[in-house]
């Protein structure tokens, strides 16, 4: 699993689709109406503070924000350590329970750490710093109940930003096969894919190596939400009792993915392609489409300036509306952190300060979240970020946002989705068998 997984950890915002709708629409509107920003009073005054932070390697956004924070509050400096996402999963429990627990840490998962009492309960900060007045869905994904189910309960993390996944496309290649605007239905999308194949173009660029984790989980989940309801998917991810991924509509989605594999819509060597290779190959013009998230926006803008478009996965019937995985870039505070107040202040500052919000858009490519009244910031003309932000609004209206199926348990991606989807690519697993195997692995892991 590479760093991209960080954004895989989209969690559960969508228990209440109406809330998400409100959230995303309000965020979009916030750009048009700039209201006075929330006033910030740093808890550390002029005292020197060294924030002990643990970030994810490969993504600039937290580093740039930390740099700007020190620029604005020179008495705050940083002791930043970093690690790859996959390693973060492994070291986080020991970091949180160690002698020098981080004030701020990128959280790959949170339920077990919350249950083990390793993460600080942020409810009091939510009151004190005004987070509770922000659009509700921002926080929903970072809540953990006393029963260990996410989606409700106390707050254990905040998002540095809110990412959006969907279908990126190479505008020039798409125009070559007659696609002038994004498809509105799944059938339209499939017709375009067939045209791309017929034109001897690579229809979809995606990664699939076990080293990165299987990228086909992206189109699979998109298909699941395109042919069925998102609520059961989220319930499965949140470990609701009795939830299953092996549903009739998910089977239909898996069979469609299998058909796409058999039709050669994905690269023949997908099982050996890593995340960074797939992003680079798409950037070099290999692939009309690729399923990915908005964290890659700066990369795509750099590789194919003005030539990358984005749309949320279209549904099988227009009435269902587009769907997407969407989640916060989650950061938490260790239960025993020495500078918890300063860290919580930083999390507020990120969402409120106009410069920080602009950094989030420029470097992160994602929605900065925060209060409905916060300034939205400017997006460069021609940047694909314009389209990902717009798609976020559409998904919000449809109420079809989801967490990522790879986040259901800590190892479901490594032990379930990745090997089973790889087997499907290799013709060694059927769609039905894949869902059954993943469900069995899910139950095995939950039994622990």
């Amino acid at each position: 699993m590479v760093s991209d997984d960080k954004h895989f950890s989209l969690p559960e915002e969508i228990l209440s689709t109406r809330k998400v709708l409100t959230f995303l629409v309000v965020l979009a509107l916030a750009g048009a109406v700039t209201l006075p920003a929330q006033t910030l009073v740093p808890p550390f005054g002029k005292n020197p503070v060294v924030l002990n932070a643990y970030f994810e390697t490969g993504f600039d956004i937290p580093y740039k924000l930390a740099e700007e924070f020190t620029k604005q509050y020179p008495n705050v400096t940083w002791d930043i350590k970093q690690d790859q996402f996959a390693n973060l999963i492994n070291v986080t429990p020991r970091l949180l329970s160690g002698d020098n627990p981080p004030d701020l840490i990128r959280l790959p998962t949170m339920v077990s750490f919350a249950k083990q009492g390793l993460l600080m309960n942020l409810d009091s900060y939510a009151d004190k710093l005004g987070w509770n007045k922000w659009p509700v869905p921002q926080m929903v994904q970072n809540r953990v109940g006393s029963d260990g189910i996410r989606g409700a309960g106390s707050l254990y993390a905040m998002g540095l930003n809110y990412s959006m996944t969907g279908v990126f496309y190479n505008k020039k290649l798409a125009a070559q096969i007659g696609m002038t605007k994004p498809p509105k239905t799944l059938a339209e999308f499939e017709t375009i894919l067939a045209k791309a194949k017929a034109a001897k173009l690579q229809p979809i660029m995606e990664w699939g190596s076990a080293k990165s984790g299987m990228g086909l989980a992206f189109p699979l989940q998109a298909l699941m939400a395109a042919v069925g309801p998102v609520k059961p998917i989220n319930e499965w991810i949140f470990n609701k009792k009795g939830a299953t991924i092996d549903t009739p509509s998910n089977l239909k989605a898996a069979q469609m993915l299998e058909a796409w594999i058999n039709k050669g819509y994905f690269p023949a060597d997908i099982n050996a392609i890593e995340y960074t290779d797939a992003a680079a190959r798409f950037g070099q013009g290999e692939g009309v489409f690729t399923f990915n998230g908005d964290w890659q926006n700066p990369g795509y803008d750099k590789d194919l300036p003005g030539n990358v478009g984005f749309f949320a996965m279209p549904p099988d019937t227009a009435s269902r509306g587009p769907a997407a995985m969407s989640a916060p870039l989650t950061y938490g505070i260790a239960a025993k952190a020495k500078n918890a107040d300063a860290a919580a202040f930083f999390l507020t500052w990120v969402a409120i300060n106009p410069v920080a919000r602009q950094i989030n858009i420029d470097i992160g490519g994602s929605n900065p979240g925060g209060p409905a009244s916060a300034p939205a910031g400017k997006v460069a003309a021609g940047s694909v970020t314009n389209e990902t932000l717009a798609a976020g609004v559409e998904v919000g209206k449809a109420g079809n946002a989801m967490d990522f199926i790879a986040n259901a348990t800590s190892a479901i991606f490594a032990q379930g989705w990745t090997p089973e989807l790889q087997k499907m690519v290799g013709g060694k697993q059927t769609a039905a068998g894949m869902l059954k195997a993943v469900q069995a692995e899910y139950l095995r892991e939950l039994e622990q």
């Binding site: 080293k211 490594a414 032990q415 090997p419 087997k423």
Partner: protein
């Protein structure tokens, strides 16, 4: 007086025992620091792993005794048991081929490539040993990728139908990882065996030649039997490398595709760190150690018998 002189006279047994005891004490004192480190970093972790293997534990919370359940899990969960099978398949590539090929190469070098050329050849063959395995895994990942050197070469030579994503192919991923193992371990075996061949009395080869033996007869009748001890060392080291493989596999395939290259080392890592299931991870680790011993001890015994 008589008695006195008798008492004063040095007793032969006491005289010889004192230096032995002294040597013994001094010897242990010299060994003590190393023993302390060995105990701290090898024996204690080993005993702790053994202990963990009987508990259900997430590495942080309360440990719960589960008896042999973790060991049963290893046999019940197919992917864990299959990883052990994969490790044995790797023995062919990491051990049998490098040792066999190393014998032939060392013998040929002894025959035709003495002097500077021989030294250069040995150095080149040994080079993979000094390259970090992680770097080796990454380099081979590039070579074996679809747009990589191997496939480009195949295409250039008209063998395009053979081009494939070697590390992502269900049939070829394990042999491809094995190839990296051969590349790494061949040099080690060759250098060790070449050094041993150089010690064989040249008159044996000379007499064989006078008797009309060819290279193959010399190889089978002189070289192989006289190198039995060194072959034992090579087999021991390389079989351990195969059964306890982790780095090469982790860096080149991550255990994929579809667990086709998953070995116990990878599964232990995932169980312990990704799943936070210290119990089954420790059980698999202990089983792996037992398996290694079961394979290695007979080889060691054969070598010892030969020596005596």
């Amino acid at each position: 007086m008589k008695q006195r002189s008798f008492l004063l006279a040095p007793r032969p047994e006491a005289n010889s025992r004192r230096p032995i005891r002294r040597e013994l004490v001094v010897g242990w004192l010299f060994a003590l620091p190393a023993l302390a480190f060995y105990a701290l970093f090898v024996l204690v972790p080993f005993l702790m792993s053994l202990e963990y293997s009987f508990f259900r534990w997430d590495g942080i919370g309360v440990m719960k005794w589960v008896g042999l359940k973790n060991y049963l899990t290893v046999f019940e969960v197919p992917v864990l048991f299959e990883s052990i099978i994969n490790a044995f398949k790797l023995v062919l590539f990491f051990s049998l081929i490098p040792v066999g090929l190393g014998l032939v190469v060392a013998s040929v070098m002894h025959k035709v490539a003495a002097g500077t050329f021989g030294s250069v050849a040995r150095t080149i063959l040994f080079l993979p040993q000094v390259i970090p395995l992680v770097a080796a895994g990454i380099i081979w990942g590039w070579i074996l990728a679809m747009p990589g050197l191997l496939n480009e070469t195949l295409r250039a030579t008209g063998l395009e139908s053979w081009a494939r994503a070697w590390l992502g192919d269900f049939d070829w991923a394990l042999p491809a990882v094995g190839m990296i193992g051969i590349w790494v371990l061949l040099g080690f075996c060759t250098v060790l065996l070449a050094t041993a061949i150089a010690k064989i009395d040249p008159s044996l080869f000379e007499s064989a030649r006078i008797d009309g033996s060819n290279w193959l007869q010399e190889f089978l009748s002189i070289t192989v039997p006289l190198l039995r001890q060194e072959i034992g060392v090579c087999l021991t080291v390389t079989i351990i490398a195969a059964l306890a493989a982790f780095d090469i596999v982790y860096v080149s395939t991550g255990g994929g595709p579809g667990n086709a290259t998953a070995v116990p080392g990878i599964q232990i890592y995932i169980l312990a760190f990704t799943e936070q299931r210290i119990g089954p991870a420790s059980a698999l680790a202990v089983l792996l150690m037992v398996l290694v011993l079961l394979v290695i001890l007979p080889i060691q015994r054969l070598t010892r018998e030969e020596r005596s």
